[in-house]
Point group: C2
C-alpha cells in the first residue's frame, strides 16, 4: 500500500477584505493511496487547480451551513480542478479516468463522487482548459452571454475584467454573434491582448480613465445593449448612465467589491426604469445541463483556432496562495491556473 | 364663439430636488373654445387631473429633447387626466367623448390626438378612476406585477409605497394570485388602510423601523420572491439582503431618490448573483397594448367590490401645486387626484 506526501494549501485565518498570502499556509501530510473500506468516494490525483474569485467569499467567516463548500480553518481550500482518478468507489468512475469538478488545493484528494462535474472525454486540447475555457469559467461566459444576455447581431457589448477567465470568452462569443464589443482591463498589456489577440473591437485601461462615464460615451455613442458585469461598483454605476433601451446586464461577478468591508454604493439605478434595463444575477451551476451543447459549440471553434484562450499558469502547489491573491490585484494575465502535476 | 377663463398651473422655476409649491404658480388666461382652422387637434375640458411622481423628473432642467413632454418654463405642466372632448379635428374623437391621456394642468387644453391614450367606454365606475386604478397607475401595477414579476401562487411579495396609486393595487393583485403580501408605508393611517381595507397580510410604517433588514427578516423569515420597488434607496438595499433564490424585482419607481441631488448608494447588489435575482426596470407605455385585457380582468373585480381603490381628491386647480408637492412627503393617502370639473 503506497504512502505519498500530500502537500496542501490550508486556510490559516478567515479573510476579511482582500485575501493575503499569509491567510493561507502550505502544509505536508502523508496519505495512503487506498480508498477506505466500502467508501463510494473517489481518490484523485490533482493535475490542474483553478484560482477563481468566488473562492474569496468561501474564505470569509460565513455562518456555518450558509454556503456549501465554505472553507474551514486548518483544512485545505476547496476549489475546482482537473484530476486523474486513482481509485473509485463509484461505478461512474474508474481508475485512469480524467475528470473536472470540485476538489481541494492539495496533491491528492478524496472527494464524494457528487462533487465531480464531468468526465473529460476530449483530450486533444490542453487538459488545463477544463479549469477555464472548457470548465466553469467557459460555461459561465456561455450561459451568461447567450442565455442571460440574449445577444442579437449588431448589439453593442461591454465587458469588464475583459481579459480574465470569463471576460475573454464573452468578447469572442460577442464577435462570433456579430456584435460590437469593447473590453476594459487594468494594464496596457491586457488592453493589447484584447485588441490584438482576442479580437475585441476596442479596449481601454480603466485605471487611466478618470471619468468612466465619458469613456463609455466615447466608445458607445449610441449606448450599450449588453453589459457583462464582472466587477460591479463604479464601473457598473457609469454603465447605468450609458445603457440603451431594453438593455441587459448579466451580473456574473462584482470582484471590485469582494475586498471591501463596506461596498461602494451604486447610485444610478433609476436608469433601469427609463431604459427598461434587466439586471440578472446568475450562477453557472444552474446551466450545467447545457454542458454537452456548449462543448459541441466550442470544441470545433477551439480546434479551428477561431476561439483562443489566454492562461496564466503557475507551477507548484506552493505558489497557490500567491496565484490566488494575485487575482484581486489583477496580476494574472488571462485565466489563473495552478499546475500541480502533468499526469 | 365662446371665450372662457382658463386657469393654469405653470412651471415658474426648474426644480432641483424636492419640488416646492413656489416652483409653480397659478395663472389665468382666456381661451376661445374653437379649434384653429384645419387643425387635427382635440379641444378638451379637463375633469380630473392626475398627480404622479414621474412629473418631478419633467420639471428638472433636462437637456432639450432628452425627455418627451418635459415641462417648459411659464407653460402649463403636462400630465395625465380625464377630459371631455369639446371639439375634435380628428375622426377618432367626437364632441362629448370622454377620454384619458396626456393633457395639461389647466381647465381647457388643446392637445394633439396622439396624446390621447384611450376613449372611456365604461362610465358605471367613478370617472376619476381613469387617472388611477383604470388609468396609468392601474396599468403600471398590472404590467409590473403580472408581466414583469411573473407571480406564482404562494409567492412572498413585498411592496413599498404600498398605499400609493400603484402599490395598493399590487397588493390586491398579489392576494388575488394567492400570494402572501406585506406593504410598507409612512404613517399609521396608511398601515391601517393596508391591513384593514386593502387586504395586505401585513404592513409596517418604515419610519418606525430603525433596522429595515431586521424588519424584513421578521415579516419574511423565508425571504422575498417578488419585491415591487416604488422607492429605491435604503429600502431596496435592505430588500436585496432578503431576496429568495430566483426572486424578481420589478423596478417601477424610486421616489425616495428623485429629490436627492446625490442619490443614495445601493450597496448590496452582489446578492443579485448568489440569489439569481432579476431586477427589471419597466415603463408602463410598453404595455398599453394590454389595456383591453386589463379592463376585462379588472372591471368585474371593481364592480363586485373585490378590488377597491383609495383616492385622495383635491378640489380646484389652485390646489394642484400643494397636491403634487404632497406626493413627495407622503401627505396623500391613496391616489392623488385633482378635481377640476365634474362634467
Amino acid at each position: 500500500m503506497a504512502h505519498v506526501r500530500n502537500k496542501q494549501v490550508i486556510l490559516r485565518d478567515y479573510v476579511s477584505g482582500f485575501p493575503k498570502e499569509t491567510d493561507m499556509s502550505i502544509v505536508e501530510s502523508t496519505l495512503t493511496l487506498k480508498l477506505p473500506e466500502a467508501s463510494n468516494e473517489v481518490l484523485l490525483k490533482n493535475l490542474y487547480l483553478s484560482c477563481d474569485p468566488y473562492m474569496q467569499i468561501l474564505m470569509t467567516n460565513v455562518e456555518p451551513g450558509s454556503v456549501s463548500y465554505a472553507h474551514s480553518l486548518s483544512q485545505p481550500l476547496t476549489g475546482l480542478g482537473v484530476a486523474k482518478v486513482l481509485e473509485s468507489g463509484h461505478p461512474d468512475y474508474k481508475k485512469g479516468d480524467l475528470i473536472w469538478g470540485l476538489t481541494k488545493l492539495e496533491e491528492y484528494s478524496l472527494v464524494p463522487s457528487t462533487q465531480i462535474q464531468f468526465k473529460i472525454e476530449h483530450t486533444d486540447v490542453p487538459l488545463s482548459y477544463y479549469t477555464g475555457i472548457l470548465g466553469m469559467p467557459g460555461m459561465t461566459a456561455y450561459a451568461g452571454f447567450f442565455e442571460v444576455g440574449s445577444p442579437k447581431k449588431g448589439d453593442k457589448v461591454f465587458v469588464s475584467a475583459a481579459s480574465g477567465a470569463v471576460g475573454q470568452l464573452v468578447g469572442q462569443f460577442a464577435k462570433l454573434t456579430g456584435c460590437y464589443v469593447v473590453g476594459s482591463a487594468g494594464t496596457k498589456e491586457k488592453v493589447d491582448l484584447l485588441k490584438n489577440k482576442l479580437g475585441f473591437d476596442e479596449a481601454f485601461n480603466y485605471k487611466e480613465e478618470p471619468d468612466l462615464n465619458a469613456t463609455l460615451k466615447r466608445y458607445f455613442p449610441e449606448g450599450i445593449d449588453i453589459y457583462f458585469d464582472n466587477v460591479g461598483g463604479k464601473t457598473l454605476d457609469a454603465v447605468l448612465l450609458n445603457m440603451r433601451v431594453h438593455g441587459r446586464i448579466p451580473v456574473c461577478g462584482m470582484i471590485s467589491q469582494y475586498n471591501l468591508a463596506q461596498p461602494e454604493g451604486v447610485t444610478n439605478l433609476t436608469n433601469l426604469i427609463y431604459k427598461r434595463v434587466c439586471m440578472q444575477g446568475f450562477v453557472v451551476s444552474d446551466f450545467y445541463h447545457l454542458y454537452p451543447k456548449f462543448l459541441e459549440f466550442l470544441l470545433p471553434h477551439i480546434r479551428e483556432g477561431k476561439v483562443v484562450y489566454v492562461e496564466d499558469i503557475a507551477e507548484g502547489l506552493e505558489n497557490g496562495p500567491a496565484a490566488f491573491v494575485g487575482l484581486f490585484s489583477g496580476r494574472n494575465v488571462g485565466k489563473q491556473v495552478l499546475l500541480v502535476a502533468r499526469e
